[in-house]
Subunit: 271 residues, 6 copies
């Protein structure tokens, strides 16, 4: 049997929807998966070790990064949240991860960025990874921050970062928009695996989608990651289109990459 490529990979957000998939999918890559989340992680496997901790707790993060070969940073608030939470979980929390990586000598971080970092761009803009940020929410804003943080830590400290702008990763497309924005769990694992094993990552931004027919962004600038999606949404199309109404062409879910996030108000406003 082949020796795994890594000794220890740290996965943050390991109790989450994607974290759970990554535990399964990344298992062959490392002798040990070190898992962490704010909540208890179920069904620990022999190749896993788990710690309940908060990203906002620097000392805990610093300790978790010790002896780690690579970090798969999928932790933090996974959705629009009040500013205080975004600030703590996503901004301060991610800073703690990067700064811990630096202090602990970790060389590569794979980060769950999001389509919401660029949510106000339109489908017909066909942006690539060099186009400017256009966050659609405080959540998206925090993703922009972490991308820039990774850029700094690469330029200044030589820590590689793959910023995976995940569109919609669910068991299957949950609405019409996901017919183009869907990232299957298997493709998600493929993308993270590519980012972990690519010969050179430096600072790379990649759009995370399956090979769906409708292609609203240009992913060529991440070509050196070697990610090859193998799923698409065609098998879900007919049923989805049957049970949901055709949206207006100016509905955010068809106009902007970020979909209905662009219509969210400020999370701290009282309803």
């Amino acid at each position: 049997m082949t020796k795994p490529r890594f000794d220890t990979i740290l996965i943050t957000g390991a109790a989450g929807r994607l974290g759970t998939e990554l535990r399964r999918g990344l298992a062959p890559l490392a002798r040990k998966l070190r898992l962490t989340d704010r909540t208890e992680i179920a069904d620990l496997q022999p190749n896993e070790e788990a710690t309940v901790a908060d990203l906002a707790d620097f000392d805990a993060m610093r300790k978790l990064c010790e002896g780690v070969d690579a970090i798969v940073h999928f932790g933090g608030a996974p959705n629009e949240r009040p500013w205080a939470e975004i600030l703590d979980s996503n901004i301060r929390g991610s800073y703690h991860i990067y700064e811990s990586a630096r202090q602990a000598g970790v060389r590569r971080v794979v980060y769950a960025s999001s389509v919401h970092a660029i949510g106000y761009h339109r489908l017909e803009d066909h942006i690539d990874a060099n186009d400017p940020h256009r966050p659609d929410s405080l959540y998206g804003l925090s993703k922009c921050f972490v991308e820039d943080l990774g850029r700094l830590y690469w330029d200044k400290f030589g820590i590689e970062s793959a910023m995976l702008r995940i569109f919609s990763s669910f068991p299957e497309p949950a609405d019409r928009r996901m017919l183009w924005s869907w990232l299957s769990f298997d493709d998600c694992v493929r993308l993270v695996t590519a980012a972990l094993t690519a010969p050179r990552v430096g600072f790379t931004v990649s759009f995370g989608m399956s090979d769906n027919a409708v292609k609203p962004v240009d992913n060529r600038l991440a070509g050196h990651l070697g990610y090859r999606p193998q799923d698409n949404t065609e098998r879900f199309r007919e049923a989805m289109e049957e049970r949901t109404p055709t949206p207006k062409p100016d509905a955010p879910a068809v106009r902007t990459l970020g979909g209905w996030f662009v219509d969210l108000g400020h999370p701290d406003d009282e309803e």
Copy 2:
């Protein structure tokens, strides 16, 4: 059985070469196909209704657009013609379609634009949909006009348009140039179908070719249409190359996208 996506689609030029293919190919998309052409339309099917009318007749067009969900505008002179005919059929005729669409509340138009709108660009330029018009004929000039007309009706009146720059859609490649410019009838139907069903069209220009090996244009800016060609010309290559001479590298049929149209003189000149 699934309910068709549209109630009524209007097809102009329905008696033409491509119109005939579209009648067959688009049938599953709509409860009813409303057909029109200058000449009689043969073999009407139960799902079809037909009207003989001239595009230059605004009132007729206005009436045909009533109650229509989408227009597939493939009518007009399909080739270089004298100015008077281009003006009447293609320029005035297409204006009548768009203005009727506006008055009748139709929300999407799929138009048979043409490679001849950009015929003077060269293969090695690898233009994309944002490159400037370079018509190669009065025919191509009228296609440019309709593209701009559609742009105006989208920006000002919110009517979506897919401008399909069809290269060479024939039963099979008829000359060497079509080894790269061919659009199979099935791919033509796929392209129109994608344009009718894409979640967001706005104003989109797409190059209409099959998946031929030689690729002289960059179609990424139409990626949101979701068109996936499935045919190519490889099976015709050997026979075609055997029975036709190798062209000079500066022959228009290999140098420019428009092929021999660039060598046409003015259609009103006496020979």
Copy 3:
């Protein structure tokens, strides 16, 4: 005294606001100015000859182009008008000019295109001459048509065209928008002169503005015309800002190049 560069220049629209300025400004360039307009032209000078004629009358245009060295085509409807008039004056009329030029052997045309050919682009887009058309009116649409017509006549028949997208050419800025869109009459004459005398025009699109502080477009692609504006609106700024309210940032007059044209409805709609 130096010999004028041209023998005869034809000016269409010679009775109009800009036509009148051009009569004065272009006088030194030609031995004779041949003028035409739909209405009587006042105060004929010894170096001028005038003909009242309609652009829609091909034979009249054909005759006017005989023996001409260059055409300064400023005729046609200068504003949004009903479709029938746009079609006749601007589309058919300009075709008559180009086709007459071809038949008569005229080698260069300088055309009064307009900002309204690209009126839906925003100031912050900083478009250049290769960006796509985005007409804001039927008037703008006709300008797009003539630009493409000139492109065809250059590529196919070798007739050079300078397409001058005039922004706002008035005696002085008439509203706030003109603080950035103004083209002084003197700069207008400079621009037409440059277009007439540049060593190589081929097919060139140039934005027609004075050297105003606010610069919303990128004119470098017309650098080979040698146009150097010498006026600007600074001396009008204070008074204008005092007597007019600050517009909202989304008012069309500050958002789009075309200004309030983007808010016009269809000219044929009854009010």
Copy 4:
């Protein structure tokens, strides 16, 4: 005497080097300048009112933004500082400004961003405002954050932002690098004035330099601000070159836009 354009402008960081210049320079624009800083503001003028407050104090900021027409946000740590201070002053502090602006209905913010948001780009890259962030420090990272914050508040809430990436604004060039990076105080005032009075700002990024001979960035995308620098460093060149050694071509001060900031280590490391 003309009525000032604004009733009240809020200036943050008003006790700082640039804040002091802005008090003088912006006085003619507003009936009243509302000033704030962490430290006492000296020499209050009749047109000024001042409040000592910390950007990290949301309630104080919220109150200061009440009734304000525009905000000139020059407050926060002006240099590389420990993470805790960057987080509080620049990240949280600027969020407080934007969120207060939203709640108070302020429509335009002019922000002192910095070359350090893009410090790792090289002079020969000639970046423009759409090129990606490349912060060179935690300080620069916070500037990136505020730019993205402003982008969000424009796209979602319609608050305009001019992000002025100030290079080196000092009484005169203090080292060789400033021969190209210098922004004179007068040009700084011109730039802020342009940003406050431009007809349309939307979300605009502008590089803040005087008209120095060496031009390492492309500022055309801010052309709609109407900023025209009038100073340059030529009069300082000879003396500066005489008293300072010629740097190596790979010294950060000549290689990167950020200069010696790229050589700074992490501010929290013990020396």
Copy 5:
């Protein structure tokens, strides 16, 4: 049986690693393959004729080009060599080929250019064929020279050239870098065949790689050649990664297209 497309193709460097593959692979394309190399060519086939000659010998080259339909120029030093040899074999030698082609009336040349013509570009730059040369060696510099030579002979004398920037063409990947840079022998034959038979080559630069997962360059500008790679390195990946250490992200073999060539010193330096 079909008539071969060409009568005679000249292959230079026919005794080399790739020359040998091309003898086999191009046989069906021509009635006769004329082979030349500095060394004896083994195993001559009935469809082949061979001449031992030096590229530096103009008269010999001139004679070999007589009566030839196309030249596949794979001769010259295949690696970094002292200046004197590079100058003679690659610079003077290739000039002899082009000048002989001109004198003999040959219309198309397919040249083995190299990744080392652009070796200092990084993988994450994703350059295309229009990006500037960045040679990584005297060898690479000579490839740049021949590309420019071909450009001249196309623009001035109408001789078409396909410049194939071959990455790593070996029986199988020989090191980790070749997991992305490999060009299988079969794909190499496909690429040369495409370049020989494409309808229009003009002057075309194409990157020569198989369809490997990691894609560090953008080959769309050669789309008109019709090259479709069919091999990739996935089947070699696991074994290769097992037996070789993971490189540092700044090792030249993962950072730059040219790999370890960028670390070579000057070939004439004494070690």
Copy 6:
């Protein structure tokens, strides 16, 4: 009096038209000018030392580069010449200069490249320094070679190069084309001075023209050199246009940057 910036500058081609101007113009920059040319250099000044030598003689060049701070390489054939001479003077000769610079530790080279390295681009292409080479002659081809040579010596050996693509540097415009292509002697000295004294050159390509009204190229990518032309051809225009005929728009002198060079045949052809 100020100390000159350099101790010793080597000027090659010092007896030539531009070399003579540079002796005068660069005198203030260095304590000593070391001059070399194939022919005797007249009127030696106290600050000058001169050596007659051939660029093809490596040992002579190696010796001349000893102890030099910067090289202004204006030597070699200044015009289209037979291949043997181009090869010896321009290709081998320039290699000798760069290799001597490397061995002698010289850190910066300023090279007289030429418009003829890009002569086939058209005026309306408005190329910038990153557009591909398109030589119009063997002479131009050798300029391309030296540009690539300099690129290699910068990337590999850290020797800076400014490649000045001089258009037409003569006492005054000698033909109509020079109305746009002229570089006054004073501006030539300004450009070389800027290239010698710029804080960072790295590898820079700059177009060498005066500030003429007609601008056919985009020089922004050399903005970090700090070159500011102060002359233009307006004062020569009227007389020149009077005494020379208006060229056809397709004459090479108005169509291509290289002018009549594009119409030259091969220099080795017998006439």
